[in-house]
């Protein structure tokens, strides 16, 4: 039971209040309007008209696109953002470990999950799983401080970073335990951070 609890604690799952999910859904996806949208012409910076015309192509945040593209009468059709298009999928298939995922998209997996809803072939989902499982070894090595090249951390997307952070913290606690006989009690994390910031402000 105890182990189960830990699993649940450490697995991110997006919910209504999740900051990460809100930020990830602000990423943009290309879409094309199927109908006229009266009065909202200002959303298209390239046009002076009052109405947003059918046929207009725009990049809109995913949270909005999701609402407009779903339902019985979709207002837009959605296209894949470039990181999920076939050309980029090929790069990931060739060698996902060599890719700087941070550059592919800060929220590569999060955005991918949202985008996958509109990809009926399932190619997006497949590449997400492939990328994650292929890159796992690297993530585990980083978290365990094996083959130290800290610059590799910069190449992780936000989900991988979170997993790395928690994993690395636990690993350091473990190594600390193995190497020291008495581990002193420390100040609370927030207290330590507060002190540090205060010192920076003073300087």
């Amino acid at each position: 039971m105890i182990k189960l609890k830990i699993v649940l604690e450490h697995s991110y799952y997006p919910n209504y209040f999740a900051i990460e999910d809100i930020i990830a859904t602000q990423e943009k996806a290309p879409c094309k309007f199927l109908v006229n949208i009266p009065k909202l012409g200002k959303l298209n910076a390239a046009s002076e008209e009052d109405d947003l015309k059918a046929g207009t192509s725009l990049e809109l945040p995913v949270w909005l696109v999701q609402q407009l593209a779903s339902g019985r009468q979709p207002l837009v059709t959605i296209d894949l953002p470039k990181s999920y298009k076939p050309a980029y999928r090929e790069i990931l298939k060739a060698d996902a470990t060599a890719v700087d995922l941070h550059k592919f998209g800060l929220y590569f997996y999060e955005l991918g999950c949202h985008i996958a809803q509109f990809d009926n072939q399932g190619d997006v989902r497949e590449i997400l799983v492939h990328t994650f499982t292929t890159r796992f070894k690297q993530l585990m090595d980083l978290a365990d401080n094996i083959g130290l090249d800290p610059s590799a951390i910069d190449k992780l997307d936000m989900l991988e970073r979170k997993l790395f952070k928690d994993g690395n913290l636990a690993r350091n606690l473990l190594n600390n335990w193995l190497n020291n006989s008495i581990i002193p009690m420390g100040a609370a994390t927030m207290v330590v951070n507060h002190r540090k910031r205060k010192r920076i402000n003073v300087e």
Partner: protein, 198 residues
């Protein structure tokens, strides 16, 4: 763009899971105004739509749908902002104790301040009600204790500390003491004492 303000409000919380920033009253008000504005426009257009004969003039429903999506987005961001700040506040009660450093207290809204005090009171009352002999302090013994007494160094000029047995200890900066663990763990957590192993 729709929802931009709400996004920047939530963005304030990113990477700041350990720090409470000043409550952004201005932005919160602006977003609330934006919601009201969008709602009013929708209200108007829906009325127009009701009186329209099908097939004539423009269909306003797509516009209403888009605005409605923006309202929901703004609402989600506002709620997430407040909810996540409360989570942080609750954690602060456990890490700083019932009295917050002034600089941090100033960052709270009036409502948040009230919430913190109430939470603190309820928690205190609960801890006093469990266990025997006047309660159980749940904020100590976070790690299995190894020894009854520990060696500590004082990091700040704290003043007098009265121990349970009635003796007084003067905690001066850089002074070292051998104290009952149970009575100094909280001071260690608050960064006043430093635990010296060995």
């Amino acid at each position: 763009m729709l929802g931009e303000k709400a996004y920047s409000l939530v963005k304030e919380l990113e990477d700041r899971q350990c720090e409470i920033l000043p409550y952004n009253t201005d932005l919160v008000t602006e977003i609330a105004t934006e919601i009201v504005h969008l709602y009013d426009q929708n209200h108007q257009d829906v009325r127009l739509e009701d009186s329209r004969t099908p097939g004539t003039s423009t269909n306003l429903m797509p516009t209403v749908r888009m605005r409605h999506a923006a309202i929901q987005r703004n609402q989600r961001c506002l709620l997430a902002y407040h909810y996540n700040r409360l989570r942080l506040l609750r954690q602060m009660r456990w890490e700083f104790g019932s009295i917050l450093p002034t600089e941090l207290k100033e960052n709270l809204s009036a409502a948040e301040n009230g919430w913190f005090n109430k939470y603190s009171t309820i928690l205190g009352k609960y801890m006093r009600s469990i266990g025997e002999n006047g309660g159980l302090n749940l904020a100590v013994d976070l790690k299995p204790p190894k020894a009854l007494f520990i060696e500590v160094r004082c990091l700040v000029d704290y003043g007098k500390l009265e121990l349970n047995d009635g003796t007084n200890v003067l905690l001066k900066k850089n002074s070292q003491h051998f104290l009952p663990r149970s009575e100094c763990e909280e001071l260690i957590r608050r960064g006043i004492l430093q635990h010296i192993a060995n």
